[in-house]
């Protein structure tokens, strides 16, 4: 199966892109709300990035046909 049609790879790309955007925005603007003082964009962005990279790594494992 073509890499680009592998859903794991597509999800990995989308979440990595979102993770990078959120983390950079978080670093640059230190957003906070009245309730949440810590930098949620930065931390949630990093978490999304890790999630996305994990999916990209997973997409290297060939899918077994029997599943």
């Amino acid at each position: 199966m073509n890499r680009l049609t592998d859903l794991r790879f597509l999800i990995g790309i989308l979440f990595s892109v979102y993770g990078v955007i959120l983390a950079i925005y978080g670093l640059a603007s230190h957003p906070s709300t009245q309730t949440v003082q810590w930098n949620i964009d930065l931390w949630w962005g990093l978490l999304s990035l890790v999630f996305g990279l994990a999916f990209i790594v997973w997409s290297n494992v060939p899918e077994k046909d029997e599943d």
């Binding site: 049609t5 597509l10 979440f15 955007i21 925005y25 309730t35 949440v36 964009d41 949630w44 599943d67």
Partner: protein
Amino acid sequence: MHSLHALFHANGVDYSIIAIYFVFVIGVGFILKNRVRTGEDFFLSGRSIPGWITGLAFLSANLGALEIMGMTASGAEYGWMTTHFYWIGAIPAMLFLGLYMMPFYYVSKVRSVPEYLKLRFNEATRGVNAVSFAVMTVLTSGISLYSMALIFQVLIGWSLTISILVSAVVVLVYVTLGGLTSSIYNEVVQFFLIWAGLLPIPLIGMHQLGGWNGMMNRLPAGFGHLWSNLGSPSNNPMGIGWLGVVLGLGFVLSFGYWTTDFLVVQRTLAARNLRAAQNTPIYAAFFKMIVPILVIIPGLIALAVFPKIGHTSGMSYNLALPLLISKYYPPGMMGLGLTAMLASFMSGMAGNITAFTTVWTYDIYQAYMHKDASDKHYISMGRWAVLGGVVISIGTAYFAAGFPSVMDYMQTLFSFFNAPLFGTFLLGMFWKRTTAWGGFWGLISGIVGAFLLYYLVPAHVFSSPDAGNFWRAWWAWVITVVITVLVSLITKRKSEEELKGIVFGLSNRPNYTGFPWYKRPGYLAAIAFIILVVLNIIFW
């Protein structure tokens, strides 16, 4: 919902997150276009999708934005009891579909639910189901299109027309290109986006309120329980008793929806083999059980944080989730939250459109208008049907904008169709004596019976609209079963040869000895069921 000022002020970063999502889904459509060669590819993803993907799609096709906002609202209004819709009101039916019904659906190679009805009963039964399903689905898609546009108007101030046209066109493009696979891929992406976009809300909220117990201290008594207030309908705000929940919601409504609605069943048919097809709703059951974290808990948090919700103007229960987003999320996260809602809305609509397209093409167009055309012809008909479905949805959306109450009414009417259908399926699949005309007349009587109950029994007989729906569904099902049995006993039965492979007792039970336990539907379903029981005891 008449606020002139939008609730949020989305900025550049929020809009880029939303824009990236649009580019992504359309891109996926173009990538998948090359994989669509046959009708089977377009309408059933070539029956080639792994079980974890169809499982998540099975769950997400039903998890639209309206459902998310509506269930959060119910959580704020009725408390933890709302979780019944996710546990007893879904899990047993999903496990039953996987274990007992999938072998007939999948092995018979039918392409749709109406097609199974034709195989098991007759052309007339298929016709009734195909037409009612097609009409219902395309109108539902329009109603949700309108509701979503309304939400986005309140949230970020977009005009109705912009929201309706942008979402409809994006859905149109990606479904036309990639067919069911496009739709399924986006449903799975939506599943993860929902968690990414909404999970911080229960986390922040519970942290702020001091955990579950801290939250309960601020809520009315009984708001943290599932069953302990269901002894009598007058003891709880939803106005229902335990018997109504078990029979109406847990049995008839839930089984009727999860086992016969082609919107969800279509996802299982796309699985790459019988075991993956059986595991589809079983995997989905595990994920379904944790969805209350994302919807009901935020509802409870909303009630604790905004005690006036539902009682002051501008603070309707329906705004529970948006109010929390605007309170907790800075720019950036807000874009992600909005994208999650947009994604869940669009994938819900795409699900309706793909199901509509398949039923229209195979069960109406091929069956009654143009029988022996080439495969290519049906694919191109399918693509036109996507366009037709989207155009009708836009029309319905504008109609709904003009007559909102008519829409509520129609949605109640639609809820009548699944309960009788489940009766027909249950007898058809598990009682081989059920005849073709028994199935047909039973289904018709159930639908007519539900309508009569709705019009003839005054609403105030029931303690709440939910209680009314539960009991109507139950009686519609009973009518179907009784009439099907009676007519079957006096009409000509089908030969065993005709029923081979589509009825219990006349087909080989799949055998998975040799597979490890975590791949076997039976073991997985048993584990899911035990977790369900334990959860119900913990939150009694």
